[in-house]
Symmetry: C2
């Protein structure tokens, strides 16, 4: 059983957080945050595949090769990206100073950045604030951390759960930011997880990869993966459970809990999408392969015509049919069926007579499921997205660099 | 020399057109149009690759295998798509009746449809109108034809040019519809061309394919290729020039003119894009392969973040950099440069100091060119698109089926 409890990343034992404003966000809100474990941790990360990615991401990947880390410093408002060799140099200087102040090796300290691309970090101002940042580390600062990592988000996103592994209660916490699939340059997806479970490094890595694949990698980022997307998990073993190894019963317990918390946070990101008014799930089944299923689901989810149709509350399924056909993936036209919820609207490539009133009222709901059956094989996939509204365009057109 | 003259698809010798309202468009505007050559024609077509495509498209492809056709009937307001086996049956019945009335074989008669998906054609009403349609064929109806094929277009799009082939003057006309890259289900791209040049079938097919590839296939259709996109050219030989064969001087003259008219009409489609206020050209050079160049150009052109940035007049080049990196195509981060017009904004992966005022005034222009240099090879590509405005979302969300 997985029990949701109040809290976030400092709810598991032995984790501390802090946040300050160092002047990147002109609003004066916190823009520099720190998460530290009191004990050494197994650590795993999943990062953006964007080829123009930030130096901060490169530093994390390098340092996580051994699967060990104990702290992460996060700045918001500046992506530390497209500024040349400085990116890595600045990330090294900032993590080195942070590590020294908290008595760690710099190799155990990670850095994550989110914000505008193409401006160098204000290194001196950040360095000056690291003292007060490390000096105010506390278990009470989870919410402050969650808020400090926000950019265009409208609400902080955190969760904590408790569950048992071989009779021993362990805790798992998480905190994420991101304005959804509709992910602008200012709205990188970041997610941090902490647990006091004792888990072997390889097992942590495998469980985290699988969980991220079935949660954050299910939400479409508008085809525009950010330069800075990062998800990191720390496990410090303070719960004292028997070490979790890959393939054990405990592993599957842990995986189940991790899948749960990553899914909750991924959904929160979609629901906080810029201008979004509706949560959309696209389910594709009957595909020849997993990649066909996912390709079609993503193509439909990224279609501006499908997204605006849902914003407008019009059950115009022809837009879904056209989008399925234009994905570049081979399908048999006369086998494809489309359902809005459980209501068939097209069967075997041909429109179905259905009450328009019924569909319109379904489209008034906050959550809409579009089921697509290709009847060509046994593979399936699902993708989460949100609608495309005038609000989205306004936010992204009026936003000034 | 290519001389633009007043006119459209009936300017070349021996072509007649007609249009009527048969009740598909409730507005009462013409929605059924006919184009006929008085003489047999070499004919070539390029059609959508959408797998859910219309029965009308299937019929055209089948009938054009031999490269001969003499007439095309076009209906707007109904896509004849996703209605099952009726699609082909209806298209066959309509073309058979039309062919009989004008004294042609049905195999020489094509059909093209555009409009809403999933509703069967009003076969009886169309049949009833075919008599008055065929009875009013005239050289004077080019404009009426151009208007009858429109759906969400705001202006008709036509052109005619004259040029010489081996001393003999020939004429080429064209008419297109489509609301641009931002191509909704109601805004299929259709284009019709006529010429009195005498040209061998294989040469016509090759020249048309090359011209469509460098014009209509350069404008992005929002990733959402329609179920009905069709481009067709008829050549009846009435100009009396020496038969144009592939590879001859005359062939390149003809190709040059055809490239010109297809480009003009493709640009008109982009400029009439739903809600569009700006014409954007994305040029990628220095790519390892043609497909890499085109893949990146399309990915940037389809990015909602880039499109809204231009709508908002904000020269935020980080969105372009991020989009280049997220295309899935391999690039070297520290070799990529971006220019707005001729102004460098990122060089070798690093931002360039540039006057914001200068860029902002550049972004006020109607036409914006984004140049991307990957410095990884010798291939290049260009794609045309338009900005994404609140107007686009309004049109597509408020549109009711």
């Amino acid at each position: 059983m997985i029990r949701v409890v109040r809290g976030g990343i400092t709810t598991p034992q032995g984790f501390l957080a802090a946040a300050v404003n160092c002047g990147i966000k002109r609003s004066g809100y916190d823009d520099l945050a720190l998460l530290v474990s009191e004990r050494p941790c197994a650590c795993a990360g999943v990062f953006t595949k964007n080829k123009m990615r930030s130096g901060s991401v490169e530093l994390c990947e390098r340092r996580l090769k051994k699967g060990l880390a104990q702290a992460v410093i996060v700045n918001s408002g500046n992506a530390n990206c497209c500024v040349g060799k400085r990116e890595i140099r600045d990330a090294e200087a900032i993590t080195a100073l942070t590590a020294r102040k908290i008595g760690l090796g710099k190799e155990e300290t990670l850095m994550v950045s989110t914000g505008i691309i193409g401006r160098s970090l204000p290194l001196d101002r950040i360095k000056k604030k690291i003292v007060s940042l490390t000096g105010t580390l506390s278990r009470k600062n989870a919410l402050r951390f969650a808020k400090a990592i926000m950019t265009t988000d409208t609400v902080q996103k955190e969760i904590a759960v408790r569950f048992k592994v071989a009779g021993q209660e362990v805790t798992l916490g998480g905190s994420a930011k991101g304005s959804g699939m509709i992910c602008p340059d200012m709205a990188t997806m970041l997610a941090f997880f902490t647990t006091d479970a004792a888990i072997e490094r390889g097992a942590l890595k495998a469980a985290f990869k699988e969980s991220v694949d079935s949660s954050f990698n299910r939400i479409t980022v508008d085809g525009d993966m950010s330069t800075n997307d990062s998800a990191i998990i720390f496990a410090n073993g303070l719960a004292g459970n028997k070490m979790i190894r890959r393939g054990s019963t405990g592993y599957y317990r842990f995986l189940e809990a991790l899948r749960f918390v990553t899914k909750v946070l991924a959904r929160k990101i979609v629901l906080d999408g810029e201008g979004a008014t509706r949560f959309i799930e696209i389910v594709v089944k009957g595909a020849k392969s997993q990649s066909d299923a996912e390709g079609i689901a993503r193509h439909v989810a990224d279609s501006n015509l499908v997204k605006t149709m849902i914003a407008g509350g019009d059950p115009n399924w022809g837009r879904v049919a056209s989008s399925i056909g234009s994905s570049g993936i081979d399908i048999k036209k006369d086998r494809v069926s489309i359902y809005f919820g459980n209501e068939p609207v097209m069967r075997n490539g041909s429109g179905v007579k259905v009450s328009r009133k019924k569909l319109v009222s379904m489209f008034k709901k906050k959550e809409i499921i579009i089921n697509i059956d290709l009847r060509s094989g046994g593979s399936s996939s699902r993708i989460w997205t949100c609608d495309l509204t005038e609000g989205y365009v306004r936010i992204n057109a009026e936003y000034e660099t």
